[in-house]
């Protein structure tokens, strides 16, 4: 046995060896089949346990929320219930407009800036790039109330802009930036080097290769990251809590105080009126559907793009 290529070895030893190998492998196979079954059961149980809170949440959301929603819910301003009309909560038109305004203003700044920085990080290896990367990774993990605090002290207080959607948009943009930067960098880095080389081998200057080949090839990944950032911004309460002022008017103006759906949930949940507390579910449902449509659109778009490519 010590010498594996000993040709003098008698035949029956080899026979024994083969039988033993077969016995061992059968034993191991049986054990693996058993382990596999146990693991499948464990995974299924884990899936059920994980799904329970999610299903309960969606059930609660639709059960309590659907009844709140009607046409007026979208088109009228909120009202405070009175003893004469204890159910007069009005609609959430200002919250919807505020949410859209905040997100749009934040996106206008954060998307181009984030994509450009992400491309820069992917294309260069300078000290500045390394620093920027560390900063954006840290920022991505920073608590979102911090952005609100920052926006409050800088925009609302120091620059004396006051409570406004522009201050909220600033906070949201700061929140969105790292998400966009990181996902753009990954998407750009994932573009195969061979494509870049193909462009350069055609005599293209490197900035033309970046814009004409690398960026379009990375677009699916970039858009996915952008939508992720927008979805996150739409649902954030903490960054806007301190700075948008909770306006009760339908205003698109950047320097007016506005409200947003998450903020309305936060405020109404504290209300002493049961009708206002119940309205919270309606707002939450609208918000969830809003985010769901956003991410669904992004997914469909991305998979279409992917299909075209394959």
């Amino acid at each position: 046995m010590s010498n594996l290529i000993d040709l003098e070895e008698p035949k029956d030893t080899g026979h024994d060896m083969r039988a033993e190998i077969r016995r061992t492998s059968e034993r191991v196979r049986a054990r693996r089949v058993a382990t596999s079954r146990i693991m499948v059961v464990l995974c299924s149980v884990a899936l059920l346990v994980a799904a329970v809170p999610l299903v309960l949440l969606m059930y609660q959301l639709f059960k309590q929320g659907l009844g709140q929603i009607n046409w007026k819910f979208f088109t009228t301003l909120p009202t405070t219930p009175t003893l004469i009309d204890p159910t007069g909560t009005g609609g959430i038109s200002n919250d919807i407009i505020g949410t859209i305004a905040l997100t749009v203003y934040a996106s206008i700044v954060a998307i181009p800036l984030g994509v450009l920085v992400g491309v820069y990080l992917a294309e260069t290896d300078s000290k500045l790039a390394t620093t920027l990367r560390v900063v954006s990774q840290t920022m991505a993990g920073a608590p979102s109330i911090l952005m609100g605090l920052f926006a409050f002290s800088l925009i609302v207080h120091d620059l004396n802009v006051g409570f406004s959607s522009i201050a909220g948009a600033f906070a949201l943009a700061v929140l969105m930036l790292p998400v966009i930067i990181i996902s753009t960098e990954i998407a750009v880095r994932n573009v195969p080097l061979t494509l870049r080389e193909a462009g350069l081998a055609l005599g293209a200057k490197s900035h033309k290769v970046s814009l004409g080949i690398v960026l379009p090839s990375a677009l699916t990944g970039i858009v996915t990251g952008v939508i992720l950032a927008i979805s996150r911004a739409v649902g954030e309460t903490a960054p806007v809590l301190l700075v948008i002022g909770g306006g009760y008017t339908n205003s698109w103006k950047p320097f007016d105080p506005v409200s947003s759906m998450p903020l309305a949930i936060f405020e109404n949940a504290k209300s002493e009126w049961p009708s206002q507390r119940a309205q919270v579910w309606g707002i939450a449902l609208v918000l969830v559907i809003f985010v769901f449509i956003l991410s669904l659109t992004a997914r469909i778009w991305a998979s279409r793009k992917q299909q075209v490519r394959n």
Binding site: P192, T194, L195, E197, A198, G199, L200, A201, L202, G203, A204, K205, K208, V209, G212, I213, P216, S217, L219, V308, R309, N310
Partner: protein
């Protein structure tokens, strides 16, 4: 020794016609580590020159020095002298972008731009170099696709994404893309290694047709391919210190039938590699 060699050579540079590119003592190193060295030979115009040798002998590394693709790699250094029509491509009065329009390249794996249509792929080189006139682009697209023997199968679907083509068609598209710039030299880095035998045959036939208008330098692992399609042949081998070096350069006929170096004979007979 040198004298005898010159005598035995079946065709002198003069017989092989005018020179497209000249390599003199070319070496490429990465972070001080030599990858390939001692490469001195002339690439004759309108002929196919093959670079053969086992893995690690520096064929691809040498090829990529010819259009300055190593410029991108940090720590890469090309020494010696490479000229294109007499102009030093590293130190001469020639920008790297101009060089690359005159020395085109086809890569190992077909790499059409995935976000572009067939048409956009073919004219991408022209567009990168500032050509915008539609009629000119159309004309060049058709001519290039015809040269790459692809026009008949794609003329009706030029706006389709290039990724819909088969591997062999994609590689011919990449050839068309390189030809659109009307290069003097076409570098091909194992252009058929990712393709099936039929597609390989198509590309090989194409190369024979192409040499009337462009000088071809091809890296290949496949010795039969080198023997079939090339006129001249450079044999590279990895030395003791793991750096590739040129062992022999001559006409393909001589390299395969009557080489000067015994290692060349051993390799072409399949005794190693």
């Amino acid at each position: 020794m040198t004298e005898i060699k010159t005598e035995v050579q079946s065709s002198s540079p003069a017989e092989r016609g005018p020179i497209a590119m000249q390599l003199h003592d070319v070496a490429v190193s990465f972070h001080g580590r030599v990858a390939v060295r001692d490469c001195t030979f002339d690439v004759a115009k309108n002929r196919v020159t093959s670079l053969i040798g086992p893995s690690g002998s520096g064929k691809t590394t040498l090829l990529r020095a010819l259009n300055r693709l190593h410029d991108l790699t940090p720590g890469a250094k090309v020494s010696g002298k490479i000229t294109l029509e007499g102009t030093d491509i590293y130190r001469g009065n020639l920008t790297v972008t101009e060089l690359r329009t005159r020395v085109g390249m086809v890569f190992q794996r077909p790499n059409p731009f995935p976000t572009m249509s067939i048409y956009d792929n073919v004219v991408s080189g022209l567009r990168f170099n500032g050509v915008k006139k539609k009629s000119l682009l159309d004309e060049s697209a058709e001519a290039s696709l015809r040269s790459a023997a692809l026009w008949d199968s794609v003329s009706s679907r030029l706006k389709v994404a290039a990724s819909n083509l088969s591997g062999g068609e994609q590689q011919r598209l990449c050839i068309a893309r390189a030809l659109a710039l009307d290069p003097e030299v076409l570098l091909m880095d194992e252009p058929t290694s990712a393709l099936d035998p039929i597609a390989t045959l198509h590309i090989e036939e194409l190369m024979k047709d192409l040499k009337s208008r462009v000088t071809v330098i091809i890296v290949t692992h496949n010795m039969q391919q080198a023997a079939r399609i090339s006129d001249d042949c450079a044999f590279l081998l990895m030395g003791e210190d793991r750096a590739g070096e040129l062992i022999e350069f001559d006409t393909t006929e001589k390299i395969f039938n009557n080489p000067d170096d015994s290692r060349t004979l051993d390799y072409t007979l399949g005794r190693f590699g």
